[in-house]
Symmetry: C2
Subunit: 343 residues, 2 copies
């Protein structure tokens, strides 16, 4: 493991770009850019033919610069299964990654080129652009309270990826000083459901609080762009609405999967297609931890109502079945009593 005390911030901090449109005259300013983005004005004549290959390939250097400017330094706080899953894509896209968690995940961090920090003070002193909270729902509050917020730049963007949304929104608003930006998100997939890529999978987000400055809006856009580049279906939605819908979809699905899992079903020689779907559903939902499921219940106020509706639905189905059974039996009883008494 890298010792956090011996590890300085190895990556230069990317200061937010103070000018969101740095290139009002592209033909001219492209010429003035050097590989490392520093300006030089040495009286070189302006070159107007943009598409011809130039000896120093200014166009490609300029686009490299823009690409570099869109790269973020992201601190992933909570580097478990889901944090590592996200990190692999962040790293592939060229972002600088820092990782922090209570357990020692230094090997996993090293495998994606992320620096691992045990001490949150060291992490925060690296001045990440984005602090991404990727803990379990249950430990989110404790972990957030453990961060020395005063060591971060005051402009830091906080993002969460929890499967409920009202709870982290309120937690952020309550615990973070007003100078931090807040983006609540829910990538509605995981290592199992997105093993073939993220394309077409929903990514929900709510821009809870963003300072009205171009560089901070750009940074948020750059973060969201990580997911749109992978082909996610980007859905902007208030946290409250997310939780209402998610109780009826995600929490319900997990509940059904976990109830059926308790029956300890085996594949049979005579599986119907429907039964195979059910087995797949069980496999899919139970590959997530019980803590996640418990979090979906405990931290979504709509979940209790959903459980009650499910209870009512199950009771009503049983009543229909037993009612018909009773009807048939009663009919037989009456028929036999009629044939005894009469005609």
């Amino acid at each position: 493991m890298l010792s956090s005390s011996s590890l300085p911030c190895r990556t230069p901090s990317l200061l937010p770009n103070p000018n969101p449109n740095p290139n009002p005259n592209p033909n001219r300013s492209l010429l003035l850019l050097r590989p490392h983005g520093r300006c030089c004005r040495r009286g070189a004549p302006p070159v107007l033919a943009m598409d011809a290959a130039q000896p120093f390939d200014f166009e490609s250097r300029a686009s490299d610069l823009l690409e570099r400017q869109s790269k973020l330094k992201i601190a992933i706080v909570g580097f478990g299964n889901f944090g590592q899953f996200l990190a692999r894509t962040f790293a592939r896209q060229g972002h600088t990654l820092l990782a922090h968690s209570r357990s020692d995940h230094s090997a996993a961090a090293a495998s994606v080129g992320a620096a691992f920090f045990r001490d949150p003070h060291d992490l925060c002193e690296c001045h990440p652009d984005v602090v991404l909270l990727a803990t379990s729902i249950l430990s989110a509050e404790r972990v957030l309270r453990s961060l020395p917020l005063q060591r971060l730049r005051r402009s830091t963007l906080f993002v969460d990826v929890l499967s409920v949304k009202e709870f982290p929104k309120n937690l952020f608003l309550q615990l973070l000083p007003p100078h931090f930006d807040i983006l609540c998100t829910h990538p509605m997939f995981g290592p199992e459901s997105a093993k073939d890529g993220w394309a077409g999978l929903p990514f929900v987000y709510d821009k809870v609080r963003l300072a009205d400055a171009d560089d901070r809006l750009d940074r948020c856009a750059n973060f969201l762009d990580i997911f749109s580049r992978e082909g996610c279906r980007m859905v902007e939605m208030p946290c409250g609405e997310h939780d209402e819908i998610a109780a009826e979809s995600q929490f319900l699905t997990h509940t059904v999967g976990r109830v059926v899992a308790k029956l300890d079903l085996k594949p049979t020689p005579i599986n119907t297609k429907g039964y195979e779907m059910l087995l797949k559903l069980v496999e899919n939902t139970c590959s997530d931890s019980f803590d996640l499921y418990n979090g979906l219940f405990m931290y979504n106020k709509n979940s209790t109502e959903l459980l009650e509706r499910l209870d009512v639905a199950f009771d009503s189905l049983k009543k229909e079945l037993f009612g018909r059974l009773h009807d048939r039996l009663r009919k037989q009883l009456f028929e036999s009593s009629q044939s005894l008494t009469g005609s």
Copy 2:
């Protein structure tokens, strides 16, 4: 509609072949066959080169004959959704079809080239090789009792395709005279799950009672061959074992689908993959009639136990969730009372 009284049996009755191996000397007897399978002995010289094309193509005629001999005259009793679904494949394979049901399904029958009979007496007088009971589970007994069994040949093979198996087995054994053959089957698919063909789908059967005569065993094999030709996975299994397994697979799947259907779920903009599986399961199970589901419950003695197990599983999951909620609250209560009282 074809009037049943005006409709004689239009297809020649295919008498069971008394000799299961009719061709001990193929080179000789092939020569002696005529297109319609009648024998002639007019002293033609034997031809020994079987693979050369012959002016009268005896080889192909002989195989045509064998093919014709494997064709069955099948009376489908109960010509609803499922009976019609099976009939389409039977017809494509060249079997002769007769159909009977209380409702007028003469148009559907005509569309697959089947003769439709309103009057079961007319149907039975046609002497089908196979009587296939394809009613709903709930009406099976009433329909079977309505058939004039005395008009059938004593060697008739009775087959059912009900989704429970102990019940029709006992019904057949109880109501059919001992000279009839009995085969209980369950094609574990339907118009929805097998819309792309039957390949790989399970077909369960139990040879409940077959007279020990080659022609009757061959006829049963010919009937089963309809399903193996389509690529079904043929599973021979006692009726009791089928019902035990089916309660835990098919009835459970339908129950889950119908409970969830009662929640009246809609697709959302943020469907997870798991939730889409659940919606598909609902669609799949609710495309079958409630009568089928009710039949799976009422006529399978293992279903009540399955409902009870599901009840216990749901309760136990709720207890886990509410237990953890309570634990957390209690911890907070104790912590706050400790901080009030002391230290």
